[in-house]
């Protein structure tokens, strides 16, 4: 969990040298993104992900949650060439040259998406040598990129796939810093390189943090921020610097490239999405005011355990809350968490995302959504099963800027699909098969369709069901 990770912070500075900073040239208006010698930040470390081979697959007779709040009984879904071709009721046409899977009694959802994960940058084994999630050497590190920490061999990726049906996830740097750095969106495919996992065309996210973590990490070293007011002052000053950089960059004589400032300017330009770790309702509101002061938008508040206190404000501002179902009490700013948070947000018309921030609960995001749904219903808020599935599919995709490509079962989208052996909102349900871009990358009945990371090869338990 993030609290544990933070306690385990170790300085991992060496990872950050040797990146684009040393070799790159100043970006100019004429710099071509395709020119390898003048590669801009936008094109650095490009995705090399390619979909794995797929067949024409038809699943019939299943209950389908489409990810955008609709449920189809006795449904049919057809995927071909890695894309979803059609989704509908029993009348849906079935192409003859397809593999037909009988989904009777089973359920189909889009691939599950976690907007907040540290797989790869806090991988298991959780030994200090692997602690790559917090560049906790300065409270302002927008220059670091989570993808430069991600270890593709983290065994956690395969558990998230097999038990959680996770097909896409955003890897964030940690919350020690006010500006934690860039996040990266991955497709959950085993790979030798991070680039081969990078979700093609996904915009970058940037991690920010407010509250206890930055002030604890730096305050304990007798440096700023030691208080919440210190945090806000440092954050605002950094935005002022970023505004200045951005202005100069558009001028006739652009400044020397600064990869931290490039990220901040990207936020101000609206190209990079802000994911702000922030718990308390009063602080969420402070951040909203600050974002207006500097002209950027918070895409999602993460760990926003007190969102329910200002659900009306969050709905009006169109900011998502990425939250746990029921975590609470591990620190003061998590003391007022309640399990009805998601339901109260939904009731207010605000955007709800259930996230994990955890290598175990990412395996059960469906169950977390189910608990949040049940607690809402128990207090009399009507939410459908299909709406709860949206909390872990379309809504996170929207907050990650990839909802046009995945997150729901619409024709033309990536065929990221999970076939569950029962209602995914039941504790008794597990993924039976998972497709990513139409390629079947997990099949519960086939031991060969279960990834084994390099780390696990030759170790006790290799290839076990887990």
């Amino acid at each position: 969990m993030e609290f544990g990770n933070l306690l385990a912070v170790v300085a991992a500075g060496a990872l950050l040298t040797g990146c684009a900073a040393t070799a790159a040239e100043p970006e100019t208006a004429s710099a071509s993104a395709s020119s390898s010698s003048k590669r801009s930040a936008k094109a650095a470390f490009p995705s090399t992900y390619k979909a794995y081979p797929s067949d024409n697959i038809v699943i019939t007779g299943a209950t389908i949650f489409d990810g955008e709040g609709q449920r189809i009984d006795d449904g049919v879904i057809f995927m071909s060439a890695g894309k979803i071709v059609s989704v509908g009721g029993p009348e849906t046409a079935i192409p003859t040259d397809s593999t037909i899977i009988d989904g009777t009694g089973k359920y189909v959802t889009p691939g599950i998406i976690d907007v907040h994960s540290h797989l790869g940058d806090y991988p298991t084994p959780s030994v200090p040598a692997h602690s790559d999630g917090n560049e906790a050497t300065s409270p302002v590190t927008p220059e670091v990129w989570a993808e430069h920490s991600v270890w593709p061999q983290d065994p956690g990726f395969s558990r998230a796939l097999a038990n959680g049906g996770i097909t896409s996830l955003q890897i964030l740097p940690g919350s020690a810093n006010l500006f934690g750095g860039r996040a990266v969106t991955l497709k959950n495919v085993p790979a030798r390189t991070v680039q081969a996992m990078k979700f093609p065309g996904a915009p970058y996210g940037m991690k920010m943090a407010c509250g206890e973590n930055p002030k604890r990490v730096y305050g304990s070293r007798n440096r700023k921020p030691a208080t919440r007011m210190g945090s806000l002052s440092l954050t605002r000053q950094t935005w002022i610097n970023a505004q200045e950089y951005r202005k100069k960059r558009k001028g006739a004589k652009p400044p020397k490239r600064d990869i931290g400032m490039e990220t901040l300017a990207g936020v101000l330009d609206g190209d990079i999405l802000v994911h702000n770790h922030c718990y308390r309702a009063d602080e969420l509101n402070q951040i909203i005011d600050m974002s207006k002061e500097f002209g950027y938008k918070v895409t999602a508040f993460h760990h926003a355990v007190e969102s329910y206190k200002i659900a009306d404000i969050l709905a009006k501002e169109e900011i998502c809350s990425a939250i746990w179902a029921d975590w609470w009490g591990f620190k003061m700013e998590a003391y007022d968490a309640i399990p009805e948070n998601a339901a109260l947000l939904q009731q207010a018309g605000a955007c709800v995302i259930i996230h994990s921030d955890d290598e175990n609960q990412i395996q059960r995001l469906n169950q977390e959504a189910s608990k949040a749904l049940a607690d809402g219903r128990a207090m009399g808020i009507e939410i459908s099963d299909a709406q709860a599935i949206q909390w872990i599919t379309y809504n996170p995709a929207k907050a990650m800027g990839i909802a046009d490509k995945t997150g729901s079962l619409k024709p033309g989208k990536m065929a990221d699909v999970v076939l569950w052996n029962d209602n995914p909102l039941s504790v008794y349900s597990r993924p039976e098969k998972v497709w990513i871009d139409g390629a079947m990358l997990y099949d519960s009945s086939d031991p060969t369709r279960r990834p084994v990371s390099d780390f696990e090869l030759g170790q006790p338990g290799e290839g076990d069901v887990k």
Partner: protein, 431 residues
């Protein structure tokens, strides 16, 4: 709210449970005894003076009984958390509210959680409302491999949480023991042996006890561990560490051990079963969190069970002070494994026993706690449905036959912000 609100009248609460001599008949529900037997439809549970009188389909209802209609509901023993730190922590990161370990204390084995457990800690009320009625409460270790004495507690809303004080001693002998002992498992094992030997020395002449290794109080605390009259809960994860711990009984044959954690137990399940050592295992850990967990799998408990290990669910170091309410979800997940090819889970009946009668039995209290068999303390929960299912809610909770308030500050916050916009006065006036 819908539950009767203020059970916490202090004069009542000062008395030891059971506080109310009452006969209650819970009728018509689907009754789970919790001993591994199958649920019974349309059954009755009779409670009198804080104890279970009977549970079954042909139970006579005493004339004076208060009747509670549980038709369409499930009735079970309360959830027994097999390993926890409930009542020892209010907020983990607020050190002054965290009594699990004593980093600066000169004592180790002599520490005793009975003086720290707070029955009014918010996590107690939150987990009570979720159906958790009893728990094993353990200290954590700090400067030694021994953490001190743990207790069995109830989660009732009264001043007296202790069911059994000094119920066990807690020791770390895996990776944490390696760290606590000074940097190796060799150090942990020699420390363990040396401290037990010192306890023997202490017993011979307490007044002359003078040790470089430990305080007299710690030696005194380890005596009942050595002679087996107090259980020793040993935290280990790896197969190798488990075997080494089982081997301790060659030199200390009286040790009354229970293994805790045990992520790699399935690899040495036959040896654990043959040793007759029971296990409080983590349910769902399936990642190599450390090198001691390389072969962790969710099938661990199922495989140990099949090998004849006496196993219940505990949740060591897994939000163990705040989220005992995960017990039902964990048990449900073990049932789910039965439908995953090559996985080994538990049957529903076994899974429920793993969070009710099994932990009670493993702690030596099966004749008093953990099931709805006649004579047991009447910890009873009425649920809207299958207690292991995520959608199920708790309707009523009885501890020692006393109906409990399900109110807690999470519920109060929920009601305050049911409509988030302030009314005629600020939210602070909304109670």
């Amino acid at each position: 709210m819908k539950h009767f609100a203020t059970i916490l009248v202090s004069s009542l609460a000062l008395m030891a449970a059971p506080a109310v001599a009452e006969t209650i008949a819970i009728t018509g529900g689907k009754v789970v005894v919790g001993d591994g037997s199958a649920p019974m439809d349309d059954a009755t549970v009779v409670i009198r003076d804080g104890r279970v009188v009977a549970a079954g389909t042909s139970v006579a209802i005493p004339a004076n009984a208060r009747r509670i209609d549980a038709s369409g509901k499930w009735v079970t023993p309360g959830i027994f958390a097999g390993f926890s730190r409930i009542g020892l922590i209010e907020v983990n990161a607020v050190r002054s509210t965290n009594d699990t370990s004593a980093e600066e204390s000169v004592f180790s084995a002599a520490l005793d959680v009975q003086y720290a457990i707070n029955p009014f800690a918010a996590p107690v009320a939150v987990n009570r409302a979720a159906g958790v009625t009893r728990a094993v409460v353990s200290p954590s270790t700090a400067k030694s491999i021994f953490g001190g004495y743990g207790a069995i507690v109830d989660l009732g809303a009264d001043n007296d949480p202790i069911t059994k004080a000094k119920a066990f001693q807690f020791v770390e002998l895996g990776e944490t023991g390696h760290r606590r002992a000074g940097g190796s498992r060799s150090a942990a094992h020699i420390l363990f042996r040396a401290m037990l030997e010192e306890a023997r020395t202490y017993s011979r002449s307490p007044s002359l006890f003078d040790s470089d290794l430990m305080k007299a109080s710690d030696a005194k605390a380890l005596l009942p561990v050595m002679n087996g009259s107090t259980r020793l809960l040993v935290h280990v994860e790896s197969a190798n560490d488990i075997l080494k711990v089982l081997g301790l009984r060659k030199d200390f044959p009286s040790l009354n051990m229970v293994l805790v954690g045990v992520n790699e137990g399935w690899r040495v399940a036959d040896e654990i079963a043959a040793a007759g050592v029971p296990v409080l295992a983590s349910a769902l850990t399936d990642l190599p969190e450390g090198f001691e967990d390389l072969s962790a799998t969710q099938s661990n408990i199922g495989r140990m069970k099949r090998a004849g290990v006496n196993v219940a669910i505990g949740m060591i170091n897994d939000r163990d002070a705040h989220q005992l309410r995960y017990s039902m979800q964990y048990a449900g997940n073990l049932v789910a494994l039965n439908r995953v090819p090559r996985a080994t889970g538990l049957s529903w009946d076994e899974a429920f026993a793993a969070i009710s009668s099994k932990p009670a039995e493993i702690m030596g209290m099966g004749s008093q706690l953990g099931s709805l068999k006649a004579g047991r303390q009447a910890d009873v929960v009425i649920w809207t449905g299958d207690p292991l299912e995520l959608s199920t809610q708790v309707e009523r909770v009885f501890i020692d036959g006393v109906e409990q308030s399900l109110s807690n500050r999470q519920e109060r916050l929920r009601e305050r912000y049911r409509n988030p916009t302030p009314g005629a006065l600020p939210k602070a006036y909304d109670r």
